[in-house]
Amino acid sequence: MSRRLLIALAVAGAAVTGAAAVLVLLAHDFQPYGPAEKVAQVAIGGIWVAAGLIAWQRRPGNRVGPLMTAVGFGNLAPFLYWDAALPFTLATLIEWLALPVGLHLILAFPSGRLSTRFERWFIAFTYAAVLVGSLISQLFADSSTGCPDCPRNLLRVNLDAGVWKVVSILGDLVLIAILLPAVVLLVRHVRRATGLTRRALAPVLLSWAAAATCLAALLVVDALGGKTEETALLWAGDVAFAAVPVAFLVGLLRTKLHRSGVADLVVELGSLPPPAQVRDAIARTLGDDSLELGFWLPAERRYVDADGKRLEADPRAGRAVTVLEPAGERLAVLVHDPSLLEDPELVEAVGAAASLALENSRLQAELRAQLVEVRASRARIVEAGDAERRRLERDLHDGAQQRLLGIRLALQLARGHAGDEQAIADLLSEADAEVLGALEELRALARGIHPAILTEDGLAAALSGLARRTPVPVELSVCTERMSAPVEATAYFVAGEALANVVKHAHASRVTIDVTRANGNLAIEITDDGTGGADANGAGLRGLRDRVEALDGHLQVECPSSGGTRVTAAIPCA
């Protein structure tokens, strides 16, 4: 859009507005309203043209500006007919164009584009229907009826009142065919609007609603026989209608205003804040709270967020994706509100301003991603270890134990055959006792590797078995909910190790085990009344701490001054 065209349009707008104002003041007596209010209406047309031209100049690629300008000129047109047939005919011909232009404007706001094929077809139909409809109705309209003081209609060809009636009904039908889908599309446009678009739309809808309310009230007053010339409603409606182009302009330029924030962004990011703050600062500058910032990990060819977690950067419903490559090298990605695409320069400026902080944050995010990976692999190691323990336990049970059991049955049979040979019977009994001892040891070993009941019946059952086998009295309070296998096994081994320590070192008379689930954590507390002095860095407890921490939990060993030992562990189990 050239500067020359803008200036020409501005001059034309001023000329038309001036001419219309003069004409309204001097020449007209066929309009029902007073001259002051008429001048106000001319001024509103001028405001539309001016706001439209500003919008056009500031956002040259956006159709909102031209459309607003068109609405302004359309509003001014009806004032231009003085008492001459030609301008009157032309003005009435284009009078109705305000309808398609207005619909086009609001459906295309703020991007300037119609978003669906149906919208494009509908707006094209509306333009065509209004143009053709205006032309046809001009062919049959008689300006002397309804507007006795109006000039002659040059296009008029038929005087038949019947034909005019049919044409009027057809015109009404076309109007309904336009207005019904328009309402549906408008509602959908507003409902679909997200974040920034919604914020831009709000003042427009508000001012438009105010203007419509005034118009409706005016019609009611009119119908009740009130005098509308003097009514304040008329003026209120004018003010509201004058606010509409201002609202359009403000909404359109709002993202533009964000641009001044880029300077603040440079200052804020100068101190190289942590990755999460970089995101917040960029979100603030772009005015998009929903913004997601992903850092590119070139080695792994994926994005991660500030916490090092994977971020999917695929365009999806209601989200747009902008890759930031300030120096030609991919650095980060923004997943943002699609309305930001209207101002690619702003996004680009933000990307450039943030590049140093982004590079810095990317390294931090990379470290965190590695940490996330290490944590995951630690948890996987624990799980793999548990699986191996389960397999070992099964192997012991299915292999050696079964053979020993077979031997015991054989010994029983042999004893039956021994008859009166007491010496042989005694020998067989001794052998049986040995085999039974071996079986017991094997079972204890298998249970230590992985208690089968933990898998079968959960933590509560496994711990009560453990308590039964402990020579010190154990008071148990365990929640019965089932948790994931690694969490249950870890909790079991913590309790097992703590109990073993109590038996070995503490000389305690009683132990309490408390297992509760709260706030997404499984909390285990083992307290005894023994002599204390547990070594938190002993091999057993240190191994358990590693295991607990591999599941992102904590393990603590305390020896309170009141005596005894308290082992507490918290394991996330959400």
């Binding site: 049970h397 299915d398 134990q401 079964q402 053979r403 059991l405 077979g406 015991r408 049955l409 054989a410 029983q412 049979l413 039956g416 039974l436 079986l439 079972r443 208690p451 089968a452 009941i453 079968e456 019946d457 959960g458 059952a461 078995g465 039964r468």
Partner: protein, 120 residues
């Protein structure tokens, strides 16, 4: 007349000794099965009065087999056995439709007979 028994266990050695032990104790061992599926087939074919059923089986577990038997036509008395302790199975033992549980350490004709005569 002696009671007919089916022995279900995946260890052939154990089955052999158990058969001889139970036969010595007066039971009539009519068959052996080494997994859940063949156990169900053997019960349908042999109609034993009693099934000595190992809990840990290669294809399923003794609890599932006992459930199926309780709903099928033959409905023999089922006694579960395992080299694991009863406590290892927790509440599942109590919930299963069986006469009871004998630890393999304690398996004898007398133990089986005492469970088998109890009313279901």
């Amino acid at each position: 007349m002696s009671q007919t028994v089916l022995i279900v266990d995946d260890h052939a050695g154990f089955r052999g000794f158990a058969r001889r032990l139970l036969e010595a104790g007066g039971f009539d061992v009519v068959g052996e099965a080494d997994d859940g599926a063949s156990a169900l087939a053997a019960v349908a074919e042999l109609r034993p009065e009693l099934v000595l059923l190992d809990v840990v089986l290669p294809d399923t577990d003794g609890f599932a087999v006992a459930e199926r038997l309780a709903h099928d036509g033959a409905r023999p008395a089922v006694v579960l056995t395992s080299s694991r302790q009863a406590a290892d199975f927790g509440s599942r033992l109590e919930r299963s439709p069986t006469r009871g549980f004998i630890h393999k350490d304690d398996l004898s004709s007398a133990a089986l007979a005492s469970l088998a005569v109890e009313a279901p």
